[in-house]
């Protein structure tokens, strides 16, 4: 009896602790932002949102995050594949380096991009000669987003590839399937849920990126000003209403993406 009671008490304690944590760190701030942005009613909210600088910032962020995500899907899939399927010296070091962008302060990432690709660097000069400007323009923002979201796709497909039984491939060969056919009908479907959920996480992280982007973007309103930097600017210029409105747009998008990821994973576990 005593033991059961203690067990229940423990479980109750744990659950309450988690609930409180969740409430304080996630629910309250989010509710706060929604209330803040609608505090003066619908009209001011609408005005803030329809401010061209605001929606241009959001659109730009969406566009660039999308580009970064697509690149991530391609590169991440290839890197994940190579790291799992090939054995070469330095593989395990490379594999642990994948997580570096998560460990590094994003501002350091931005600084690295400035140093490596800036107008005074070798690459920056070469690109400038053929008429491409990287830093303080859109390419730099994409690169910054790519840098901070780099591990997502790789880490999402690696466990799936490890799980994939070699004999499934061999079975396909004995059934007459070519290497390409086997890749597309056996291996790729196994990786796909990982690619998609990794991509969505990368996308929402890209939408939210501030530290790396603010250093390299130039932040010209309406041109290279992304949403997170826009929010920062609004707060700086004492306009919490505008900041909250854009935040609400970003938050809603993030929720949508999270929900999609969840749907994808649910589909995976009960196909």
């Amino acid at each position: 009896m005593n033991e059961i009671f203690r067990g229940k008490a423990w479980s109750f304690g744990f659950r309450s602790a988690i609930m409180i944590y969740f409430l304080c760190l996630i629910v309250l701030p989010i509710v706060g932002i929604y209330t803040q942005s609608f505090s003066l009613g619908w009209t001011p909210f609408w005005e803030s949102v329809s401010d061209p600088l605001a929606w241009k910032a959001v659109l730009l962020t969406l566009k660039l995050a999308l580009i970064a995500t697509v690149l991530n899907m391609l590169i991440g899939t290839m890197i994940g594949w190579v790291l799992i399927r090939y054995r070469f010296p330095g593989r395990s070091i490379l594999n642990s380096l994948v997580d570096l962008p998560f460990a590094l302060p994003t501002a350091v990432g931005g600084l690295l991009i400035l140093l490596l690709l800036g107008p005074n660097s070798l690459i920056g000069m070469l690109a400038g000669k053929i008429g491409i400007e990287i830093v303080f323009h859109e390419p730099a923002i994409v690169i910054a987003m790519l840098f901070v979201t780099f591990p997502f796709v790789i880490r999402a497909i690696q466990p799936l590839l490890e799980e994939l039984d070699r004999s499934e491939e061999e079975a396909a060969y004995t059934l007459g399937a070519s290497k390409a056919k086997t890749f597309f009908s056996v291996i790729f479907p196994t990786m796909l849920p990982g690619i998609l959920s990794g991509a969505m996480l990368a996308f929402s992280r890209g939408l939210a990126e501030f530290g790396a982007v603010v250093l390299v973007a130039g932040n010209i309103p309406g041109k290279t000003l992304v949403a997170s930097v826009f929010i920062f600017g609004e707060i700086e210029s004492n306009n919490p209403q505008g900041a909250a409105a854009v935040s609400v747009m970003l938050l809603t998008l993030s929720f949508l993406i999270l929900w999609l990821v969840n749907q994808l994973q649910a589909r995976r576990s009960t196909p």
């Binding site: 039984d165 499934e168 004995t174 059934l175 007459g176 399937a177 009908s185 196909p271």
Partner: protein
């Protein structure tokens, strides 16, 4: 398909997994590859399938050397030990895979898949995914999938290993029937000798990378060609010095020669129960083990231990009691030679003159 293998070798690094294996398999035969774990059975099967490249030797299908053909072009079906079903495909799509690769028409595919699904008793499960099936059902899907493109040779790697004992017996009878009905040359790997004996037309015993013997189950049981086969097939006790047994005294001058004696070669009984009393040796009952349908009796003659079985219908023996033992035959072997020796006293009606 007629299969011929000549001087097949496979090494992994400096480890020789398969050593100089040669054999012939006639069309339509069901062959069991039997042997202890790590013997090289899977390696042989994979080389036949083209999933592994032989280090040397030839594999000939239908008179055509296929060493350089990739698995896609060998016309084989392979049932993997873990089934290797495509996890993201339904039963239907799994079975249809090989047919879709061949670019058959939709109706043709549907017809063949439904035929196989019915044949393997999977009707009603077409739309399930592998993780929604039992082990036995998965095995059938793997079988149907391998058969779908009408291969000439079916290779099965321990097809029953992951299935519990009860369904296993059922499933192997089913498989044998199925293979006979389809009439396809088949090779299956097992390390369960009962399974091999029951299912196979012919057995190949593989140990330490070598083909020890190939023959019908009865042949292998009756005339084992190597000490390994003799000890591996059936249950047997090694007797270091067989000359202590009546009838085998003549072997006392061959010190290096050992004997393998199977329980079923040993007749035992209380004094008077054995008719050829003159060919019997006295032994002590060391231990009795109840084995469900019979007693396993451990006998001792001096330091030599013998094992035999006693029917539950017969009078129960006492531990420590004396019995008469008649050994009908023994499989003798030494470093150079091996042979089967019948107890000479059994055939000679007047054994007294020796």
């Amino acid at each position: 398909m007629h299969i011929e293998v000549r001087g097949l070798n496979k090494s992994f690094g400096d480890f020789n997994a398969v050593k100089d294996v040669s054999f012939d398999i006639e069309k339509g035969k069901l062959i069991g590859l039997l042997g202890p774990s790590g013997g090289g059975k899977t390696s042989i099967l994979r080389m036949l399938a083209g999933l592994e490249t032989p280090t040397s030797g030839d594999i000939v299908f239908h008179g055509q050397r296929v060493n350089d053909l990739p698995p896609q072009e060998r016309g084989i079906g392979f049932v993997f030990q873990n089934y290797a079903l495509f996890k993201h495909m339904t039963v239907y799509d799994n079975v249809a895979f090989g047919l879709k690769v061949k670019k058959l028409s939709k109706e043709k595919i549907r017809e063949r898949v439904m035929y196989l699904i019915e044949l393997t008793g999977l009707k009603g499960f077409e739309h399930r995914y592998p993780h929604q099936l039992s082990g036995g059902q998965r095995q059938r899907v793997a079988f149907a999938r391998a058969l779908a493109p009408e291969p000439q040779l079916l290779l099965l790697d321990e097809p029953f290993a992951a299935i519990d004992a009860k369904i296993r017996t059922e499933l192997r009878t089913w498989l044998k029937e199925m293979i006979e009905r389809v009439g396809i040359t088949s090779i299956f790997v097992t390390h369960d000798q009962e399974e091999a004996i029951e299912v196979a037309d012919e057995i190949m015993i593989i140990s330490k990378g070598r083909l020890e013997q190939k023959g019908s189950p009865w042949d292998i049981y009756k005339n084992p060609e190597t000490p390994f086969v003799a000890s591996f097939i059936g249950e047997s006790t090694i007797v270091e010095d067989i000359s202590i047994l009546k009838g085998f005294e003549s072997l006392s001058d061959q010190p290096g020669t050992k004997a393998l004696i199977r329980p079923e070669y040993i007749e035992h009984g209380k004094p008077g129960e054995i008719k050829l009393a003159s060919a019997a040796t006295t032994a002590t009952v060391r231990q009795l083990h109840f084995r469900g349908s019979e007693w396993m009796v451990e006998l001792a003659i001096g330091d030599t231990k013998l094992i035999t079985y006693r029917s539950l219908e017969r009078e129960v023996l006492q531990v420590g009691g004396q019995v008469q033992v008649l050994v009908h035959r023994a499989y003798m072997f030494n470093d150079d030679d091996s042979w089967i020796m019948e107890n000479p006293l059994k055939v000679d009606p007047m054994p007294i003159h020796i």
